[in-house]
Amino acid sequence: MSRIKYLNHLLATKQISCVELTEKYLKEIEKENKTLNAYVKVTDEAALDTAKKVDEKISKGEPLMPLEGIPMTLKDNISTKDIETTCCSKILEGYVPIYDATVWEILKSQNAVLLGKTNMDEFAMGSSCETSYFGGALNPHDTSHVAGGSSGGVASAVGGNIAVYGLGSDTGGSIRQPASFCGLVGLKPTYGAVSRYGLIAYASSFDQIGPIASSVEDAAIVYDAISLYDEKDATSCGSRYKAYDVLANSIKGMKIGIVKEYFEGIRDDIKASIEEAAKVYEELGAEMVYFNIPELKYALPVYYILACAEASSNLGRYDGIRYGYRTSNYRDINDMICKTRSEGFGREVKRRIMLGTYVLSAGYYDAYYKKAQKLRGAILKAFKNAFRKCDVILAPTVPTTAFELNFTAKDPVETYLTDICTVPVNIAGLPAVSIPCGFDSEGLPIGMQLIGDSFREDKILNAAYQYEQCTADRIYKKLEIGVRL
């Protein structure tokens, strides 16, 4: 099941060299990326350099670390020293970070093989990857559909077997939704479990880095590796419970919450899939607990008000002065900043900057920002109460399966509504994992999410793994593209 463990075994037993493995991936990227558009930058030279280093270690008989030599990818909002990092925005064109994000520093120290940087909605604002300056990433299950967003490139690459796993970021669902669309496992860790240092901010109090992988085991291995305390991030605490070691534990007696509000406006076939999953859990000895969280009806407006407010401030720094894109004709400094931003940002980003500026403005602050902050507190409290009744909550990840191309461009508000199931955990800072739970009539993957209390990644991944073990053949589909091993 675990591709990471399998490849680690192949490398350690010298059935394949790391250079061979890396070359295989690079070759398939060259072939498949023309269609999938998952990668916006391929770092083949650096990847092969790392692979050679790993091969030297193997030849010396040194033991391999869990992620050593495994080809992977990073979303393009994770800073990589000497490698262009653009957030798929024109405004960061040519921006090459002078430092590494902490997560990349950790993986680098394990000799992870970075294949390249992957596509995303511009500044992680979007649900289809289509707001990317480089155009959207496509769904490997059906290229007439999107891979989802905002971490669409990671999902497309992992789903299309042109990366073993990848790190994305999740502000309102940006890991879980594309994982759900592409039939993958996507973990959004507890706020603070993984360092945000070097993650280019969209909404700082929501953003969290996490893995997208093709199995629960892989997600757990990566999560355990990256969830370290980082003194460079004041909001970092690291993980409290390691996940991988408890995956195989029985979930007999585990209480799984079903919250009515999560099922409102959900497509019937998706609802049915999740009810199926609930049955599986009952068979596994879990106890289903049914209750309401009425506060969830405020989640969407709270999310869009607060996230946009923070974004409007976070994106103020892109002014063309120090790095990135700068307009070519301008009268003076103000004209330069104004034109640079007008030309450098896309429509969705501008929309959110304006929305965020508005809700923070004098005279509107109390009605929007302040009220939303209060509701954020209420939602957090409601979740805390819920976790007195159950260990994990089972819910749909998205009300639909993957959108057709250009769906999101038509109606932004309609698109925002599809975030209904994912944003609550970001508001409350909780961990949630999306795992596949079947396919719709068109053969597109359906996802479900398991939501846990703060720092209980161990519990949700344990529950996810137990479900995966008895349904694997129903929830995963082997695609005939990319690297097949």
């Binding site: 460079k232 004041a234 400094i333």
Partner: protein, 472 residues
């Protein structure tokens, strides 16, 4: 009816912590442009701030020294505005929960100038205009600042000057800042309005930005007071606006009106966590506070018996006051010690800056040795003065400048013999003196001094000579 000035200050003070407020870059003034910088203080995408604990401690010190209450729970906020010297397009500051609140500074009249709040924030970079271009130096970006906001309690330019001087001295004493106005480590925004004497309502105020000299503050206030009074007396109204002081023309000029004021869209800084300080921590910081200027002045007057003027003058310069206390360790002749410092030593340090620096080549112990010799009458005050000059020139101790013979002094018997000789040798002068020419006495005592190489105690010599002459 006459007009009354109403003024309040917003004072920015750069803290002298070794590192910046949110990263480990050096705060040192100067340095090649953009060399004290890192991803955090130039606001690179993805970099995150980390609050320097010493900044909080320094700010609490400032709060305690100005009688403020310290908040147990505080937080940082973002103040959003666009300017090239502000690389994140927001300044991390404190909005509605400042670290310190509700304090005061007492003027020498006994009047209290209330402090509304003291908060911590980061400084911005600096624009450098050169050869028709504008360059940005981010070395100053992220240097920690405290902003001290006073209530509009100040009613005259004299009070304003005293307030700033007192504030400056306090910060200097507690060691949180070098408060060098010319280097910009203390800068003021001055809020000014006027009203008819006796009126309770405040007038519309203007704010003069970024003043970094006390004499300019006084001049700008005077100009602005007169400007506002003239407008009101001719029936006009004051615009609420931000102004700047033009020192070349000695006027204030409008920068921007109220309608152009920025909407800073303050909100809580999500990248930083709550600042919580226990009462115990606050008390520990209080214990670390050194003696404050007003406490030192009181000590110098009450314990050392100095006149108020001397005490204030010594305390005005922190290093001088320390020098004085050091020199007083081995002596009880406080006044003599103070006289040497305020007289001969101050003459060697003509400017304020030199007194602040207090580079005195004579270590305080040497001075106290000199004072001891003077007090023991081993040397005359005349000799002491000459010796101190030599010490200031050479930095050598008393022992190297005065021989044993110099220090032997002249016993009374020897002195009497010399005096007898003087009366003998100066018959003409003695006669003149006896005939009423009082001035002639100078010649006789001059002889004694020459003979004793100045070591004679002039008072005693005079007494003996008077005796000898009168019995003649």
């Amino acid at each position: 009816m006459s007009w009354e000035l109403v003024t309040g200050f917003e004072t920015h003070i750069e803290l002298s912590t070794k590192t910046k407020i949110f990263c480990n870059c050096a705060t040192e003034f100067g340095g090649e442009p953009n060399t004290h910088c890192c991803p955090v203080c130039i606001g690179l995408p993805g970099a995150l701030p980390k609050l320097n604990k010493n900044v909080v401690i320094y700010a609490i010190k400032a709060g305690l020294a100005t009688n403020c209450k310290i908040r147990n729970i505080s937080k940082m906020d973002r103040k959003n505005y666009v300017y090239p010297d502000l690389p994140k397009a927001y300044q991390i500051s404190q909005y509605d929960k400042p670290l310190c609140e509700d304090g005061y500074i007492t003027l020498s009249s006994g009047k209290k100038i209330h402090i509304a709040r003291i908060h911590i924030e980061e400084d911005a970079g600096k624009l450098v205009h050169q050869r028709g271009n504008t360059y940005i130096d981010y070395n100053r970006g992220g240097v920690p600042l405290i902003e001290i906001v006073s209530q509009p309690d100040i009613r005259s330019i004299e009070e304003a000057v005293e307030y700033i001087e007192k504030l400056r001295l306090i910060m200097k004493y507690i060691g949180v800042s070098d408060v060098k106005m010319q280097e910009g480590s203390l800068r003021c925004d001055v809020n000014i309005s006027v009203r008819r004497k006796g009126e309770e309502k405040f007038g519309t105020r203007t704010e003069i930005k970024n003043m970094n000299s006390i004499s300019f503050i006084a001049k700008a206030m005077e100009y602005e007071f007169n400007r506002q009074v003239e407008i009101l007396e001719s029936g006009g109204t004051i615009e609420q606006e931000t102004r700047r002081y033009n020192s070349d023309l000695n006027i204030t000029e409008s920068m921007r009106g109220k309608e152009d004021a920025d909407d800073y869209r303050y909100f809580r800084e999500p990248d930083l966590v709550t600042i919580s300080i226990t009462n115990e921590e606050i008390e520990n910081i209080r214990k670390e506070l050194p003696e404050l200027p007003h406490e030192k002045i009181r000590k110098f007057i009450e314990e050392y018996g100095l006149p108020q003027a001397d005490a204030e003058l010594l305390v005005k310069y922190k290093k001088i006051s320390e020098y004085f206390e050091e020199a007083c360790k081995d002596t009880r002749s406080y006044k003599t010690t103070a006289n040497f410092i305020l007289g001969q030593i101050f003459r060697r340090l003509p400017t304020d800056a030199e007194k602040e620096e207090a580079n005195i080549p004579v270590p305080p112990q040497y001075l106290s040795e000199l004072v001891a010799l003077t007090e023991a009458k081993k040397i005359t005050s005349n000799m002491a003065r000459n010796t101190l000059e030599k010490m200031l020139d050479t930095g050598k101790p008393v022992g190297e400048l005065l021989s044993e013979k110099d220090l032997e002094g002249i016993d009374e018997g020897t002195l009497r013999r010399i005096c007898e000789k003087a009366v003998e040798m100066n018959e003409a002068a003695v006669n003149d003196y006896l005939n009423g020419k009082k001035k002639a006495f100078g010649a006789i005592i001059g002889y004694v001094m020459r003979e004793t190489k100045g070591k004679a105690d002039a008072v005693l010599a005079e007494k003996i000579l008077q005796e000898l002459i009168s019995t003649k």
